[in-house]
């Protein structure tokens, strides 16, 4: 019945737009939250009948019975958690109920789009849901209609549209050899004529398109603009899950179950991954805008995932997916904190802040947890995923890349330490004497995400057995 993950949110949106306006305004948040939590709960039970039994009357409507593997489950889990967090942030930062209603509608649309991306087993459906997610993201970015918001949204729109055109072209070329666009058919076609120039061109177009979508160097120009210009809730969603689903998940899925590894592809992935990792980290060092710095950090972390993918081994794959999930958690947490800081202090310029931890202790400490996890300091979640990636690279013989990955995590630590010093640690800056902690709508998600990060780090042996090792069936 996994097809319900698309259908139910669609029905929910339709129901929410029934005419009882004031009731719906109040209901929207809870409906969205319920959708996210149910999805999270289901994803936590891989054995549940929901994933394996055939659809009943409602699900039959789609004529669509995708099979769900552990990679999809991890993605659903991440989408559910980040979606719920985004709703909370939206509740916190959008004061006007009418606006909030619209945002929540678009948000549910984006979540549905991502669910579709994860479920799709056909290249064209994948494209359709990528576009749904992307369109919802443009709207969310431009929502507050600020000058920067329009600029960020426009850049994202243009680059993303070019990327989807490339994916479409690739899809047409692949159809030329396969005759159909289901993953299985394309895989067979590629396997039967691996050196055909048409197929190679298609793969190249596909890769570039996905690199743009995932914000990888050298196609990363749109990402910092979009992230930093977006309103608080939208940047949590974008950074936490949207680019990871549309770019990285799709990349992993296509590489594993459609294209298959070969030497050239692996070299390309390793190179792009390492470049993103280093350039993202170096650029983040030079930022003074809180959200921009986090955006560059995102590029850098995405580089790690691609590196793990490029190792070409089971362990590398597991590391990449695990890091994707961890990144969804800790980067959302950082953006949640950024939202709290921006809302309470009214600025994003890190040079003007200082010592905010004194007034906002919860935000300060959860941010410590998040950045230590990002930098890969044990025993937090990020350490394990980076360790797995590095070990995988080392075992696959890419020792230089492993060393680079280690070096980059030092750079990560450096810019986050500078962030922590300028924003939270240190003496209280002038003008923030009356600063207060945000309300519960922002503190609850921050604490929950921090606990998840710590919990994953501590409970790693269990998680590794239950969620990570089954991923090996992908290869």
């Amino acid at each position: 019945m996994p097809a319900l993950l698309i259908l139910i949110p669609l029905l929910a949106i339709l129901a929410l737009n029934l005419p009882w306006k004031s009731l719906m305004n109040r209901l929207a948040f809870w409906v969205g939250l319920a959708l996210c939590l149910v999805q999270t709960g289901l994803a936590l039970q891989p054995q549940s009948r929901f994933w394996h039994s055939p659809s009943l009357w409602l699900g039959n409507l789609l004529l669509f019975e995708p099979s769900v593997d552990h990679l999809s489950l991890v993605m659903f889990l991440a989408i559910g958690i980040v979606g719920a967090v985004t709703l909370f942030v939206c509740r916190y930062s959008t004061a006007c109920a009418g606006n909030r209603f619209m945002v929540i509608n678009v948000l549910i649309l984006a979540l549905t789009g991502m669910n579709g991306v994860v479920l799709a087993n056909d290249l064209f459906s994948l494209y359709v849901f990528l576009e749904i997610t992307a369109v919802a993201s443009y709207i969310l970015i431009a929502f507050e209609k600020g000058r920067d918001a329009f600029e960020g949204a426009f850049k994202y729109l243009i680059l993303s549209a070019v990327a989807t055109v490339m994916i479409l072209a690739a899809l047409a070329l692949l159809m030329l050899t396969a005759g159909d666009l289901s993953f299985a058919a394309i895989q067979a076609a590629i396997a039967s004529s691996p050196h055909s120039r048409v197929v190679l061109a298609a793969i190249a177009l596909l890769m570039v398109g996905l690199f743009i979508k995932g914000g990888l160097v050298p196609f990363h120009g749109w990402l910092p603009d979009a992230y930093s210009a977006a309103p608080a809730a939208a940047s949590v969603l974008l950074a936490g899950i949207v680019t990871k689903t549309t770019g990285i998940y799709t990349l992993i899925r296509l590489v594993t179950s459609v294209i298959g590894y070969n030497d050239t592809l692996q070299t390309l992935l390793l190179f792009v991954g390492a470049a993103s990792m280093l350039i993202g980290a170096l650029a983040a060092l030079g930022q003074s805008d809180f959200k921009r710095m986090l955006a560059y950090s995102s590029i850098s972390q995405v580089g790690y995932m691609v590196l793990g993918l490029g190792a070409g081994t089971v362990l590398g794959m597991v590391g990449a997916i695990f890091h994707l999930f961890n990144h969804a958690i800790f980067k959302s947490l950082l953006f949640v904190n950024a939202a709290a800081v921006e809302q309470q202090s009214g600025t994003r310029d890190m040079n003007r802040m200082g010592g905010l931890a004194e007034k906002m202790p919860v935000t300060g400490w959860t941010s410590v947890v998040a950045f230590l996890s990002t930098a890969g300091i044990p025993p937090l979640a990020g350490f394990w995923s980076k360790l797995i990636i590095i070990v995988a690279l080392w075992e696959a013989g890419y020792t230089t890349y492993a060393a680079l990955a280690v070096l980059a995590s030092l750079l990560t630590l450096a810019y986050f330490l500078s962030m922590q010093r300028r924003v939270f640690f240190g003496k209280l800056a002038a003008g923030f004497e009356s600063l207060k902690e945000g309300n519960l709508w922002i503190l609850v998600p921050a604490c929950v995400l921090a606990l998840i990060t710590i919990g994953i780090g501590v409970g790693i042996p269990w998680l590794f057995e239950t969620f990570m090792l089954p991923i090996r069936s992908l290869l």
């Binding site: 698309i6 259908l7 669609l10 949106i13 409507l61 789609l62 004529l63 669509f64 930062s93 959008t94 004061a95 006007c96 009418g98 606006n99 619209m102 509608n105 678009v106 649309l109 549905t112 789009g113 579709g116 799709a120 056909d122 064209f124 459906s125 359709v128 849901f129 576009e131 749904i132 369109v135 919802a136 443009y138 709207i139 431009a142 929502f143 507050e144 209609k145 600020g146 920067d148 918001a149 030329l176 050899t177 396969a178 005759g179 159909d180 076609a189 039967s192 004529s193 055909s196 120039r197 048409v198 197929v199 309103p231 809302q343 009214g346």
Partner: protein, 171 residues
């Protein structure tokens, strides 16, 4: 293919229309050029036995999208005289290379002699378009519904006048 000659002629016209769309100075003419490109594409689609897609292309792209562009152009302020002439001068400089580029690329592509070097898939019994859309690609239909919803929300949000400016958080 009923007439290969017509097909090639239409392709040439399509390219010409495209180049004209890009090269023309006036934005409005450019939008009209786009509409003409769309019409030519429609004809090509008819030639390729895709009548339904052709009808869609004609009504939606040549019609609706042109309307969107023209209203966008009219909603935004046109340039003043000196600005326009300054722009025209720099545009000539910037777009001068396009025809050369096209000619060069055409020659290179012709010399390369692009060929289909992978086997075509085996033929199958064709179904009707509506049947395919309804029975095989129903997921895409749902996707269309979702994206239209997104479009509706987007248009409502982006074109709504902000009466609630004071409540909006600082950005």
């Amino acid at each position: 293919m009923t007439s290969p000659l017509l097909f090639v002629a239409l392709l040439m016209l399509l390219l010409l229309a495209g180049v004209w769309t890009v090269m023309t100075l006036n934005l409005l003419k450019s939008a009209i050029g786009l509409a003409i490109t769309s019409v030519l594409l429609t004809l090509l689609l008819f030639l390729l036995d895709a009548p339904l897609a052709g009808v869609f292309e004609l009504s939606v792209c040549a019609g609706l999208i042109t309307v969107v562009f023209i209203s966008a152009i009219s909603l935004t302020k046109p340039l003043t005289g000196p600005e326009a002439s300054e722009r025209d001068r720099s545009r000539v400089k910037r777009f001068f290379f396009l025809p050369i580029l096209i000619a060069g690329a055409a020659w290179v592509l012709y010399a390369l002699g692009l060929r289909l070097d992978s086997p075509l898939p085996p033929a199958i019994a064709e179904m009707d378009v509506r049947q395919v859309l309804w029975n095989v690609r129903r997921l895409d239909l749902v996707g269309q519904i979702l994206i239209i919803l997104a479009g509706v929300f987007g248009v409502v949000i982006l074109f709504k006048d902000r009466s609630d400016k004071k409540e909006a958080p600082k950005s």
